[in-house]
């Protein structure tokens, strides 16, 4: 309104170029306004609830154990590399019998240092680490976060999701979902603003009569970076096989489309 008044005030005594520029700006304004109206109408006609869900993955920390063929080929390549390499200065020194003993001593001490160093276990024996809620379980696998959420009357184990609020973009909803359902201690990184998966379902008849047909869920992929989920939230980190057992089969089908298999 204010802007329009200014326009009407200015136009009578302004030059021709001014009027043209003003008319173009007003065109732009009217266009955006109409678009906004159209968008709202779109959603109203459809009568679908829009939801954003986050597939939060903890990527493998350690490498997978090599299958048989890989180990055999690896050994062969190492053997070939060793055969084709020339003798190093150190080995030449060792071959000269002069100070053979000191060199042997050196080698022994290095070996001892290596054997004495204790690497962390690849598979943790700590029971606490292997619990479903722990981030340190199954270090060589991709884990997906599921939380217990109430849908309708019953609870389901699903990737965290929430309904889009007015004026939010889908990715903003996804960010909010992580914050609300996993707490502020966790740091995640999204893989893009565009949804990567889609799933929709219809509400039961009695709910449909009240106005909404069903829910359209847009999935976003994110990776766990650091931090922890507060322990009072019911959650679990599952690998691909466990995911299949714990998810609704239809939902699992649409998730598997974009999750990397093991």
């Amino acid at each position: 309104m204010m802007f329009k008044r200014i326009l009407t005030l200015r136009t009578p005594n302004s030059l021709s170029f001014l009027t043209t520029s003003i008319s173009s700006t007003s065109k732009v304004i009217s266009r955006t306004l109409s678009e906004q109206i159209k968008q709202d109408i779109d959603i109203d006609i459809e009568k679908w609830d829009l939801l954003s869900a986050v597939c939060l993955e903890r990527h493998p920390v350690i490498t997978k154990s090599m299958p048989d063929i890989e180990t055999r080929f690896h050994n062969m390549l190492q053997q070939m590399e060793f055969e084709n390499s020339t003798i190093s200065d150190f080995e030449m020194q060792k071959q000269n019998n002069k100070n053979r003993k000191t060199i042997q001593d050196f080698e022994d001490s290095w070996k001892e240092e290596f054997t004495n160093f204790k690497f962390a276990e690849r598979i943790s024996e700590n029971e606490e680490d292997n619990a479903v809620m722990s981030l340190r379980r199954k270090l060589d696998k991709n884990l997906v976060l599921l939380v217990e959420q109430k849908i309708g009357d019953s609870n389901f184990w699903i990737p965290p999701q929430s309904i889009r609020k007015h004026r939010e973009t889908m990715i903003q909803t996804a960010h909010r979902t992580v914050q609300e359902l996993c707490g502020n201690n966790i740091k995640v990184k999204f893989y893009g603003n565009a949804p990567i998966g889609f799933y929709q379902y219809k509400y039961p008849k009695n709910l449909q009569e009240r106005g909404q047909n069903g829910a359209k869920i847009f999935y976003f992929l994110a990776k766990y970076v650091s931090g922890d989920i507060s322990p009072d939230i019911k959650h679990c980190w599952l690998d691909r096989e466990e995911l299949k057992k714990n998810l609704h089969p239809d939902l699992h089908k649409s998730l598997v489309k974009f999750l990397l298999p093991d």
Partner: protein, 201 residues
């Protein structure tokens, strides 16, 4: 003169904000008014230097530079040696260095390696086709999701596919063989500094 100007100023302002709630005492020259805040400080007196001292200083500077130039010129013909190149002819002369493989491989071993390589090729090919399927399925899934989003709302779709340079410099540290040790304080390695400083460096 200044008073008159102030008055003019005040009148001008009063006309601008005739209906405002501001109360101004700047209307009449005889009214009280606050002086402007002075944020200056008296200028410092410049120290005068003896011209002889200034000249001596410049002379010293010039001499220092000249000395440095002379030093550099003295070693102008000396190139900085490159060790890698120096050792190369030496290596070429020393052809008696042998490979680790002393005896040629047996027929059986060669055959084994060949078959293993074939097996490896098959394995890798199957892996590659699997990867292709996965990539295709992911792309398809995203296409469906975006199509659905577009059908729901054009604006949300536009926001979703907009370029966002928040994601662009992407870095990741890959999986390792053993997980990190908790609270491990890695020791600094010992080293002997062997870098040679050359003149003119």
């Amino acid at each position: 003169m200044i008073g008159v100007l102030n008055l003019a100023n005040a009148v001008f302002r009063a006309s601008l904000i005739s209906s405002s709630r501001n109360i101004s005492t700047y209307i009449h020259p005889l009214y009280f008014r606050a002086t402007e805040v002075l944020l200056g400080e008296p200028l410092k007196k410049k120290k005068r230097l003896d011209p002889a001292i200034v000249r001596a200083r410049e002379e010293r500077k010039r001499k220092k530079l000249q000395k440095r130039i002379r030093q550099l010129e003295k070693h102008a013909n000396h190139m900085k040696p490159i060790f890698e190149i120096d050792t190369l002819p030496e290596l070429l002369q020393n052809e008696k260095r042998t490979c680790h493989l002393s005896v040629p491989l047996s027929e059986k071993e060669i055959e084994r390696r060949k078959s293993l390589e074939k097996e490896w090729c098959k394995y890798k090919h199957s892996q590659w086709t699997k990867d292709l399927h996965v990539i295709k399925s992911i792309i398809k899934s995203q296409e469906i999701a975006l199509k659905e989003l577009k059908a729901v709302s054009k604006q949300l779709y536009k926001k979703a596919v907009e370029f966002d340079d928040l994601y662009m410099p992407y870095s990741v540290t890959g999986p390792v063989y053993t997980p990190s040790i908790k609270n491990y304080d890695s020791p600094d390695g010992e080293y002997i500094e062997t870098t040679v400083k050359y003149i003119g460096e």
